[in-house]
Structure formats: C-alpha cells, structure tokens
C-alpha cells in the first residue's frame, strides 16, 4: 500500500501501479487514449498529464504523463492544476487539427471515447484554421469499416491487433503526421479477433460493419447482458436491439472470463437472429394454412404428446432450463442428448475429469497467467478462440516473471517490457495433427495421430510421476521431447494442460488428465482446461441423459413414437440416412427452434423458440461456470423460450411439478433442488423480484429516443410497455439509474463516459480487475481429487490399406451452426476440402485442388484435396460442420474407392 495525495487529498492506494490506473480506480475523471488496461502504457498520446510535485513545499510542480509514472508512497500530484488542464485541452486541440469533426455521421458517435475526452478536457473552440489531411480508406472484409480520416494515431489498434492478438496484417505505415493504420493493401483482416478493433479504437476509424447495415446509436439501443452461444467458453456479451432486430454484439467485461475482448465469431455471429430463415410463427403441418398462433400450436403439441409415447432430445446449444423442462416433461428415462455419441462420451469424460480429477479449470484470466502450457489435440483458435488469445498472453508470463521483474520494469510499461523480452517466450508445447495459429509461439510442436499424441501425453505424465502408467516402445527422440515437456511443466509455478473433445479422442483426454494428476501429485498448482463442443455442452452433461443412438433405437423398436426435438438439427448429429429413417419412423415430430433447418423441415409441429437475444436462460461453460443471459427485448407471444413452451405444455397436461412453477425463477429453483451440483445457478443473477430502491434495472439508457413514436405507424397512442416477468430488468429507460448488480449490466455508461470499454472502468473494483460485486458467473465444479490414473495407453496408430482415418478439422468460421447463418460470417467460411498428407497424395496420385472420393458409413464424399505436411500418413482431415459437407461422426475410417497400399508403418516418434 502507498499513500498518495491528489489535489492535497490523501488516498491509500496499491503501490506499483501507474498513476493513471490508480486515479481511474479512485474514480477520478482523468482523460487518456493510448493506455488500455489490458495492454498497458506506452506514453504516446500525452493526454493523461498531471502535475507531480517533488514534495509538499514544491508549489510549481512539473507535468508528467500519469500512465508512465509509478505510484510512490507520499507522492503529491494534481489533476486539477490549471497548467495540467490546459495541456490536456491542448492535446485534444492537436488531435482535432486533423480530425474531421464528422460526429453526426460517424458510427462511433454517442459511444466515442474521443468525444468523451474532448468534453472532459473542455476543449471547445477550434484554433486550427488550415487544411486537414485526408486518407484513402481500405476494404477490410465483412466485419469492419475503415475511416482513416478520423484517426488520432493512438497506436491502440496496432498494439492490440499485432502485439496482443498476434495479427500479422495490420500495421502502422509512414511517419510524422502521415501515419497510416491499416493493411499493406486492401483485403480481409485475417485475425479471428479483428472485431475488437471497433472497441479498442477510441474513435470511429474501425467500426462494426454489420451494425452499419442497421445502424443505431448506443443510446437508442435496448440492451441486455448476454452470454455468447458460439463456443463453450461463455464469453460475456451485450446484445443491443431496436425495432425488433438485433443490432450488434459488444463486449461485456468479465474480469474472469473474456475481459475486454471477444472473438469475431462471437461478435458477428449474432446476425442469424435477423435471418429470413427465422421461425416466427408456429407451424402445424397437418393443417392449412400451416402457420398458426400460439394457442392452437400449444393445443396441437399437447394432444400429440398425449397421444404418443414420447421421448425428448435435448440440445447443447439450448439453455439448462430448456433442457431441464424437456427432461421433466418426457421423464428422465426418455431424455436423450442431442449430440453425436462420440461427443456425448467425450463430454461425459471431460466432465468426469473435472469432477473427479485433482485440478480445477482456470478462468481465461488465469490462463493468461499460466507460465507453462501443453496443448493436446486442440486447435484452439478454431475451437475456442478466446482461449487461444489467453494462451497467447501466457507465453509472455515466464519472461515477465523472470527478466522483467529483475530489471525492475513495471509490467504495465508495455513497450519497455516488449523491448526487454524481445522474442523470448515461455514454454508452450502443442501436439496436434494439424497446424494451429499458436504454433508460431510454441517451444515445440508435435504432429501425429491422436493415439500417438495420447502416447506422448502418457509419457509426459509418467516422467512427472511414475504412478502414471508407462508407455512402451518410445524412441529416444520421443523420450527427449516428453522429458522436455515434463521438465518445463515441473519448472513452472502454474502449469496448464489444455485439451478437449474436438479431435474426437478419449485417449487424448485421458492422457491430459494423467499429466494433471501427476503434476498435482508432485504438488504443482496445475490447471486443466478442456474445450467442449458447444455453449452448453457442459450444462447438458451435468443434467445427464441417454445417448442419441438409443433414441433412434427407442423409436425403431417401437418403444416410442413421438419425439420432441429441442433446438437441434439432428442432421448435424448423425448420418442423414439414420436421421431420415428415424424421423420417418416417428408418428409425430415436435421441434422447437429458431431457424429452419433440415430437421425442422420434417417436423409435424414446429414451435418458434426464442434465440438467445429473446430468451432468458443459463449456460454452463467449459470451466463449469454457470452464467445467466437475459432477454433483450419483448417479442410476440408466439415466440418464446423453449422452456416456456415446454412448461406451458406441461401445465396444460397437468404435470404436477411443472404446473406448480410460476415463471423462470421457479424452474431455476427446481433445477437447483434436483441437482445439488447445480445449486449455484440460483446465484448467477438476482431473482425476478429483485429491485433497487423499488425500481427495476432499465435496459435502455436515459437518452433513449423515439419511444413514443416508434410504433406510431401502427397506433398513435403509445402502448403500455411490456413487462418482464422473468428478470428484474425493465424494457424501457425507466428504472434505477445507478450501477446494477454485476451479473446483469445491460450497458456500461457513467456520466462523461459513453464508450463501452472505457466506461467499464467505473464498474470495476480496480481498473482492469474484477467487477464491483464480483465477476458474473458461478463455478459449479470443484475437483474432488478421487480419480485414479488412466491406464488406457493406446498403441501406435496403424494405417489401414484402402482407407483413410478421417479426423475432424475445425473452423472459427464454418464449424458452428448458428453463426454460419450470419451473412458476414458466411463470407469467411472456407470452401469444403479434405486435407491429406502430401506423401499419401503422391501415392494416391492426387494433387492440390483435385477431387478425392471416399465414403464414411455409406455417405459418399467428393472433396477437393488440400495437401498437408502434418496430417499423419494414412489419415486425413475433413472440416467439421462446414456447410456443404454432410455429417460424419469423426474420427472414422473413410473407405477409398481405390486400393491404396500404404508404405509399411510410418515412422513415428512414439
């Protein structure tokens, strides 16, 4: 602790931080641009100047940039000093010499840090009367708009894109006042994290291009706290709506999960909500017209269920509540997981590793602090992008702990840290069958089949602790690599093992579990992160349920004849012949979903399920963190959450427990009661009756405009605002004006701070730290430490003549169902392909781009070849979930339509 004096008032503050973050933590309004809590200080913009006095007798003082000054005990500074204020106003004056003053037509307006800082410094009148410089803007792809004239050269974009996120194609060009921030030439920004530029940029140089297509000012958005539905990490988002369409997704700070950033799938995937493919009316296919209203649909569904022997198929992309109510409705024995059997088993295994294993899953924030990382069989950038971003930060940890602290450079002094560290990186090992974007940071990469990767993992575990089973027949080279990895993990303070379900291998997961088990046995504070397929895969696994295959059997063998399919396109879960047959065999198919798909096509009764932005619910992420998402705006009564539909059906059917529920909170309570492990979900957010000073939390800022007229085309008298029975949020601007509980912040705003990222300062305990009241989400899992070492050490992978062992490959853009329906994302989806080993290609006499035919489980594929140096000989890779690539349960043996003999067993290390 240190005591500092700001304008003669003493404050107890944390020593070692810089003055700027300290002042902001104290709630002072001190303007800044180039500093960013996640990226530290570089001292470029000179906006945060304060007076610093030598001692109490010094009355003159000297201007210092607060972001570059370390807090010292007894320090005396002034923010209010006239000279400091004048200097800060001049900084804006200088920046404005070339800024176009086009706020009225700028997308950033109303959420612009430059506007805020201009007002804050009191710079009101332009003195500069000469010409401004202008630039040519660039096409940057479907996500971002570029308007260089607005640039204030704070360098945040390049520091974020290049230094923080590892992007290669955005930089700063030229010098003096001709600086240009952009690409070397027009083109799509390559990084999967480019969208953050829209929030990192303090003005309107980089803005959200998808928002531009249905533009709304921040103050005119109806917003609510949401959770990203596009992968298993559960990043916190804010979803904004106007006129019934979803307008944008912005970051919702969560100090433990996503911090200040989102990936592009999460930020731009939302447009599926506005898709013309939305199901907006219930359909009862047996009648004409098919489209109907809520109650007829309910009636139809209820009678179908009453008439039949019903099973329910849940979904990993539906909320815990929806899955639970379905399970209640159909009964425990009749509830099936709507995932492929491979996924079912892998997620169950992951859950059991987290439940029974010795180590917990670190939050993304903790991942950034890991000082040695070993990734087995996950291409994180494509399966859990924000985890890749966190790992990217982690490789800086070891040099920071060692060299930077030795040189006494504060970690926030970003440029100095990078200059000292240069290209040195902490230990990161990656074992996979395909190259990943993190490879460039890796100490070592190892490419081989999943079984061989598992062998490496088992070997590492065995070196760390001999109780973990031995791996036989390892080459000397392999032993060396295992030793190197084991040494690095053992030398670290916080070693982290990352694996997951995406390579489809239980053995890899078990090997990862053994390493952690061994590390903990050696008293290491080790962590394990397991990536699971979808946003609520973990929640679904926690609820329990049967495999999908047994659902098919149940219908085929006549046990059941009616199926309720919850938010699930079964054609993405099993082969089309199987599903065709299954659906045909059902007397009645009742589907609930947001978008038309192959499954809903075949539904007899189709109920429009509310997508995330029109729904309340809970998701459980890969670390076992339950998080609440809130409905953003009222919708017509025939669109509602699946749990709502199903509970209404249950009530009509007079199922006792279901009838006793009076709204959302009761469902949450019922889950908590039935599943002690899930008890924490009642604490993810305050109940619907929660009020502050008797008031609800408004979803709209107090400047929200047009309310009285926005429905005037229908009726000149303004309708009564909708009421939200499920949450303490109001659908209007009325309500409590102060800060809401951290779990339900609909937008970040405080007087003078309109931009999302910067206003966040005021919601945090300390700037860049936890939100006041704690970061949202409740962790449900605690490692019991009861697991024992797995002994499932596999044999080496052996190729099969005339076959290819087909492995799944994943794509940030293309592998996830819902985001694939967003037009901007669709532009980034790669063409279908099959990746094969280059030497195999020679043997098969195919070349890059040529079509290769093969079949898996009777499904015939014909895909263009992509040559790969890393896919092991005798195996191949196929994109998972890509539009145009029919489902296959991978990994699987693909049968080649030609007789290929592989050279004897390929050389492998393990």
């Amino acid at each position: 602790m240190a005591t500092i004096y700001i304008d003669n008032h003493p404050y107890d503050v944390q020593a070692g931080k810089n003055l700027l973050e300290t002042c902001l933590t104290l709630g002072k309004d001190l303007p800044y641009f180039c500093w960013h809590p996640a990226m530290g200080s570089i001292g470029a913009c000179r906006q945060c100047a304060v007076k610093v006095y030598k001692d109490e007798n010094d009355t003159k003082g000297k201007l210092f940039m607060s972001c570059m000054e370390q807090v010292r005990d007894g320090m005396r500074i002034s923010i209010a000093d006239l000279e400091a204020k004048e200097f800060r106003a001049h900084i804006i004056g200088w920046l404005m010499t070339n800024h176009p003053h086009d706020c009225a037509v700028c997308d950033e307006g109303g959420a612009c840090h430059l506007q805020d800082m201009t007002v804050m410094t009191g710079h009101n009148y332009r003195q500069y009367s000469f010409q401004k410089r202008t630039y040519r803007n660039q096409y940057l792809g479907p996500f971002l708009n570029h308007e260089m004239n607005r640039c204030i050269q704070c360098y945040r974009c390049v520091r974020y894109y290049k230094d923080y996120a590892g992007g290669k194609d955005l930089d700063v060009f030229a010098a003096h006042n001709h600086l240009y921030f952009g690409r070397a030439e027009d083109g799509v920004l390559e990084s999967e994290f480019s969208g953050n530029l829209a929030e990192v940029c303090p003005t309107g140089v980089f803005t959200d291009k998808t928002l531009k297509q249905h533009y709304t000012r921040k103050w005119d958005l109806t917003s609510a706290a949401s959770v990203c539905h596009h992968c298993s990490l559960g990043c916190n988002t804010i979803a904004g709506e106007r006129y019934g369409t979803l307008r944008n997704i912005t970051n919702r700070y969560n100090g433990e999960v996503n911090g200040y950033f989102l990936c592009d799938r999460g930020r731009f995937g939302y447009e599926f909500v506005n898709s013309p493919g939305r199901i907006r009316k219930p359909l009862v296919r047996s009648r004409l017209p098919e489209a109907t209203e809520k109650y007829p649909a309910l009636k139809a569904a209820t009678s179908a269920i009453r008439a039949g022997r019903v099973i329910g198929i849940g979904s990993p992309r539906a909320s815990l509540e929806s899955n639970y109510v379905l399970k209640k409705l159909v009964g425990e024995d009749n509830f099936y997981h709507g995932v492929s059997d491979v996924d079912h088993d892998l997620v169950d295994l992951s859950l059991s590793i987290l439940r029974n294993g010795p180590a917990r899953t670190p939050s993304l924030r903790e991942v950034e602090k890991a000082d040695a990382v070993f990734i087995l069989g996950e291409d994180l950038t494509n399966t859990a992008p924000m985890l890749a971003l966190a790992v990217r930060q982690s490789v800086r940890q070891k040099p920071i702990l060692e060299e930077v602290s030795q040189a006494k450079i504060p970690v926030w002094q970003d440029a100095a840290v990078r200059e000292l560290v240069q290209s040195e990186k902490g230990p990161l090992f990656i074992a996979h069958y395909t190259p990943t974007k993190l490879d460039e940071l890796a100490t070592q990469t190892f490419f081989d089949s999943t079984d061989t990767i598992a062998r490496l993992g088992f070997a590492v575990a065995n070196i760390i602790h001999p109780d973990s089973p031995e791996v036989r027949n390892i080459s000397e080279e392999g032993q060396e690599l295992a030793q190197q990895i084991a040494d690095a993990l053992m030398a670290a303070k916080n070693p982290l093992i990352i694996s997951g379900t995406s390579s489809g291998s239980e053995r890899v997961l078990k090997a990862a579990a053994n390493i952690v088990q061994a590390l903990v046995a050696r008293e290491k504070a080790a962590g394990i992160s397991l990536v699971v397929p979808e946003c609520n895969s973990m929640g679904l696994a926690l609820l329990g349920g049967h495999k999908l295959e047994s659902a098919f059997e149940a219908v085929m063998n006549g046990y059941a004849d009616t199926v309720i399919i919850l938010e699930n396109d079964l054609y993405r879960r099993a082969g089309s012949t199987t599903i065709d047959q299954f659906l045909k065999s059902c007397k009645q198919v009742i589907a609930l979903d947001h978008l038309h798909n192959a499954t809903t096509e075949k539904a007899d009764i189709l109920l429009p399920a509310a997508p995330f932005s029109e729904a309340d619910g809970t998701l459980v992420n890969n670390e076992g963190r339950a998080q609440r998402f809130f409905q953003v705006h009222p919708v017509p009564e025939e669109i509602q959450e699946s749990w709502h539909w199903l509970a209404e059906i249950g009530t009509i059917m007079a199922i006792e427990e279901i009838s006793s529920w009076h709204g959302y909170d009761d469902i949450v309570k019922a889950i908590a009661k039935e599943y002690p492990e899930l008890e924490g979900i009642t604490k993810t957010a305050p109940p619907s009756g929660f009020r502050i000073a008797g008031q609800r939390i408004p979803r709209e800022p107090h400047r929200f405009s047009g309310r009285t007229s926005m429905l005037a085309n229908l009726n000149v008298s303004e309708p009564k605002p909708a009421e939200d029975p499920d949450s303490p949020l109001s659908y209007t601007m009325e309500g409590y004006r102060g800060q809401p509980p951290s779990s339900m912040i609909p937008f970040f705003w405080t007087p003078g701070w309109n931009s999302n990222q910067q206003a966040t300062n005021k919601y945090q305990e300390e700037v860049g730290g936890h939100l006041k009241g704690g970061d949202p989400g409740v962790r449900l899992l605690a490692p019991a430490g009861t697991a024992s070492y797995s002994t499932a050490v596999p044999q080496r992978f052996v190729p099969l003549e005339g076959h290819l062992y087909m492995l799944p490959l994943h794509h940030t853009f293309g592998s996830e169902e819902l985001s694939n329906q967003s037009p901007s994302i669709r532009e980034r989806i790669p063409e279908p392909y099959v990746a094969i080993n280059s030497t195999d290609a020679i043997r098969m006499k195919v070349d890059e781009g040529q079509l290769l035919s093969f079949s898996i489980e009777g499904q015939v594929y014909q895909l263009p070849v992509r040559l790969s140096q890393t896919i092991p000989s005798g195996s191949a890779g196929m994109p998972n979930g890509l539009p145009g690539v029919p489902f296959a349960e991978l990994p699987a043996w693909a049968i080649l339509n030609r007789d290929i003999k592989w050279k004897q067993q390929p050389q492998t290390t393990f």
Binding site: D169, A175, Q422
Partner: protein, 154 residues
C-alpha cells in the same frame, strides 16, 4: 525473386543479429541496391525471407525516407534543404534543377534518368549549398555548375 547474391548478402546480415527480422532494414537496402527501389514484389520476397509479414515489413520500410517504395530514376538527386543551405541560397539551385529537368520534388524525369528529392542536412554545412547524386557529394554549389554535374550521369 531474390537473387542468389542477395540471399547470400542477407544471410550474412542475419548471422549478425539475434533474429532474422532484425536484419530487415539491411535486407531492404540490399534489394534496393539492385533495383533502385523496393517494389511490392521485392517487399514480399524480403518479408518472407526474414520471417515477417508484408505489413510488418512495410511498416518499417515506409518509416524511413531513404527506402524508396516507388520507382526512382537511374540516378537520385538529393538536394539539401536544411538551414545552412537555406541561408546560403540553395533555392536558386532548386529552381534551376526544376527547370533543367522539368520536374518537381518527388518526380522522375521523362527519360527515367533522374529523380529529384529534397533531403535534410547532408552534414557539409561549411560548404553549402550541397547535393548528392547517388553516392557523390557536391558542395559549394553554384547554378552554373549544374550542367556539368548532371552531364556525368546518363
């Protein structure tokens, strides 16, 4: 494509520094020596060779005023426009060059012979005004010397 000789020279520079990218300015100089400037294609070649992205290398290249990212003539005239030359009347020289070559600053003569650029202090202020053509320094310039000087370059 980088020539074998260029690769050889760049390899030598890389051998002197911790990471290949640290030699990128040297590599740009080497390429510029052959072509007179650094074309987009050369930039990509160099970037790939030293393990940088095109954007990253161009960021460095465009910072420095003597890495030419646009084509130049066979000879580059750098006319000092800094203070001592200003006091000693370099502007007469400038006007004459503009007239004789029919170009302005930043332009190349129609026959591709000369590119004329202003340059800051050449460090020969006691002999102002001064200019450099390629590797040759000319000091104590007078307007009537220009024809003779220019005639040395074809």
């Amino acid at each position: 494509m980088l020539t074998a000789e260029e690769k050889h020279q760049i390899d030598h520079e890389i051998s002197l520094v911790p990471s290949p990218k640290n030699a990128c300015i040297e590599a740009l100089k080497i390429v510029q020596q052959r072509e007179g400037w650094v074309s987009d294609e050369s930039l990509k070649d160099v970037a790939e060779y030293v393990g940088m992205s095109t954007a990253e290398l161009d960021s460095v290249a465009t910072f420095y005023n003597l890495i030419f990212r646009r084509p130049v003539g066979r000879h580059v005239i750098l006319l000092c426009d800094s203070i001592s030359c200003y006091v000693m009347g370099y502007e007469d020289i400038k006007e004459q060059l503009f007239n004789k070559l029919s170009i302005q600053y930043g332009q190349t003569t129609a026959d591709g012979r000369f590119t004329l650029l202003p340059n800051c202090c050449l460090g020969t202020c006691d002999c102002a005004p001064a200019l450099m053509i390629d590797n040759d320094l000319y000091r104590n310039l007078t307007v009537d010397q220009l024809d003779e000087i220019l005639s040395k370059y074809t």
